[in-house]
Amino acid sequence: MTKLAIQVDNISKLYQLGTIGTGSFKRDLHRWWSTSVRNQDDPFGLNSTVENESQASHIWALRKVNLDVVEGDVWGIVGGNGSGKSTLLKVISRIIRPTHGTVRGRGRLSSMLEVGTGFHQDLSGRENIYLSGYVLGMKRHEIRRRFDEIVEFSGIGQFVDTPVKRYSSGMYVRLAFAVAAHLDSDILIVDEVLAVGDAEFQKKCLAKMQEFTRTEGRTILFVSHNMQAVSQLCKHILWLKKGQVVASGPIQSILNQYSNQSQTNQLSQVWQTPEEAPGNHWIRLKSVELVPQKETENALVDVRTPLTLKFNFWVCQDELRLLMGFQLMNQTGECVFDIMTPFTDCKRGLVEATCEIPGNFLNDGSYSISLIAYRNSWEDYFDYQNCLSFDVEDFRGDGMNFTGKWWGSVRPKFPLTLMHKPENQPLSLSL
């Protein structure tokens, strides 16, 4: 029979919303009077009469979460912002108490919820290795035994006696990760620590994490937004949404479902009548939509997928010289490109515009589209910002083991080739 390392049994966590502080003393007194002296229900508690969610004074960060983790398993915990991932890790790490439920566990547990836990800026690397090691629960002999390994892994070399505030941020992160990576605990809890550091170091971290599980049979709980990392590392996934478990189990069954759901796409907008449509006295939008040319129904929009942008609009004047265009913005609000038609004579009625964005052009990321229309040679304009938004997922293909973020605003597949050039003189230099 397989042994469980962690059993999360019906965990719920309630947080109080609103300002804690001013007025809370009065409320504390009121609560104490009601619950302790008069033996009534908590007037601000769960059974309070506030039903409307927007007015509720509490929020369930976790609700009835169950999870059985078998020893040696690697679990990825995924979910959007505020889904309760970090709260769950904190409950399992004993940092916060659940409101209901029990967590049981077997073996020593260490958590890496940030980079450089227990580090002090003014102390040397050597001091910080010890301090951080002890804070994370290492024993004295473990740190001594692993000290050289930690220094080597972090690559700080001769800077080991320099205060860490003089380190470059890269060195700091490497040292911090190195300490945590050499924890000898049975259960390791990692919260998006891999999101820092340069690509090369991320690769090293990932390799270290894989080594953890493969050769030493440790249990790992891993929270990350990096789907590539999750799918490489984890065999099981727990998917949380608004504090509740959407699905949990082996990775294959959940990964696609999750990725589809997590894309916060608005791929089309349609208006029935010109009256309700956005626009002005000379133009009204009828519809705007982005059609991905996916191979199967459930496939994700990834970097290979060609996209077609279509928009329809009503021209509300008899004669109109019109220029239409759209801009594609990335998630930081930078314009990736700006495309427009030449000025064209249009008549009253419906007009359709289409534009094809080829596959293998956009990099992975989140994008939004803004429309703009000019009339009569820049006389007047109408714009509709962020009318569509969509995500492009990453795709690396086989044989591409690089897992860092792919650089660049765009990711075109221009042919890049290598070929042998015949030379008259043979290469005498042997390297």
Binding site: K3, L4, Q7, D9, Y15, Q16, I20, G21, S24, F25, N66, D68, K90, V91, I92, S93, R94, I95, I96, R97, P98, T99, H100, G101, T102, V103, R104, G105, R106, G107, L109, S111, L113, E114, T117, G118, H120, D122, L123, E127, Y130, L131, Y134, V135, L136, G137, K139, R140, P163
Partner: protein, 286 residues
């Protein structure tokens, strides 16, 4: 799946309630290396980017004593009996400094360590314990200073130092004073974590405490009518005993000593249990 299978022997378990009596001091002991490192950290940090570094450990009481001698002895003219004012104020300042530093330092345990506490679990009591230990280390240095002064004065013919057997109570006195400070600090650490503005109360409270403790005046210059104020202060007999043991002057009764000890144990238990009970709940509001 059967969730209550035969997995009876779990190593640990996390539930929703923190019990009052679940004071796991054995767990704190397993983190003694961390405690030692934290003490070391405090010491190393006192060196970092300073002009005089740890010399301040000695300069602080010296400068304070200098001021007290100037103001209370020379200007105000408070009598310190047969004891030289410098020795009188030095003993008072060192002992008071211990209480004051321990109380003030541990009273912000949650607020100063909020970042660390929200990222990693370890027994929270390690933090205040480490702070007290660091203060006791500092105190050893200050006691060396006091010893130097005692030796210096013992060579002077016009002063007689009545060092007596009560001096052996010295370690006990220091521990009692440190524990009283710790008890108060633990209670206030919970209060200031919940209501931050009450941090402002701590310095005022310290000042009031100092005036109802015989730090800058001997017990016997206080009118008998108001002596009860000092008598209910568990620190009073400790200060009087400290001076009696080292300098031969001080008034206390054995009943007062017992009262002081009982008070210390009671306050410490209240502090420890309150801290222990609230430590998890406070994490939600830090």
């Amino acid at each position: 799946m059967n969730r209550t299978d035969k997995q009876s022997e779990w190593d640990w378990q996390i539930t929703n309630n923190t019990r009052w009596w679940q004071l796991d001091l054995r767990e704190v002991w397993t983190y003694r290396n961390l405690l030692a490192r934290l003490v070391r950290r405090d010491f190393l940090l006192s060196y970092q980017q300073t002009l005089l570094g740890p010399v301040w450990t000695l300069l602080q009481p010296l400068l304070t004593v200098f001021t007290y001698v100037l103001v209370f002895s020379k200007l105000v003219g408070i009598s310190t009996g047969t004891v030289p004012p410098v020795l009188f104020y030095l003993t008072g300042t060192i002992l008071w400094g211990l209480f004051n530093d321990v109380f003030t330092g541990t009273s912000t345990t949650f607020t100063t360590n909020a970042d660390l506490f929200s990222k990693v679990y370890f027994p929270r009591l390690v933090m205040p314990f480490a702070f007290v230990s660091a203060q006791l280390m500092r105190l050893l240095v200050q006691l060396a200073l006091l010893a130097a002064f005692l030796i210096f004065y013992s060579f002077r013919t016009d002063v007689t130092i009545h060092l007596n057997a009560w001096a052996f109570a010295l370690p006990g006195i220091l521990i009692v004073v440190a524990l009283l400070g710790l008890a108060g600090g633990l209670i206030f650490s919970v209060i200031t974590a919940k209501y931050r503005d009450l941090m402002n109360v701590v310095p005022i409270l310290m000042r009031i405490m100092m005036y109802v403790t015989p730090v800058i005046y001997p017990m016997d210059i206080i009118p008998v009518k108001v002596r009860w104020i000092l008598a209910i202060n568990p620190m009073t007999p400790m200060f009087e005993l400290f001076r009696y043991g080292l300098l031969g002057e001080g008034t206390f009764t054995s009943a007062q000593l017992v009262y002081s000890l009982v008070c210390t144990v009671a306050c410490l238990l209240v502090g420890l249990f309150l801290f222990n009970k609230q430590k998890d709940a406070l994490m939600d509001i830090l």
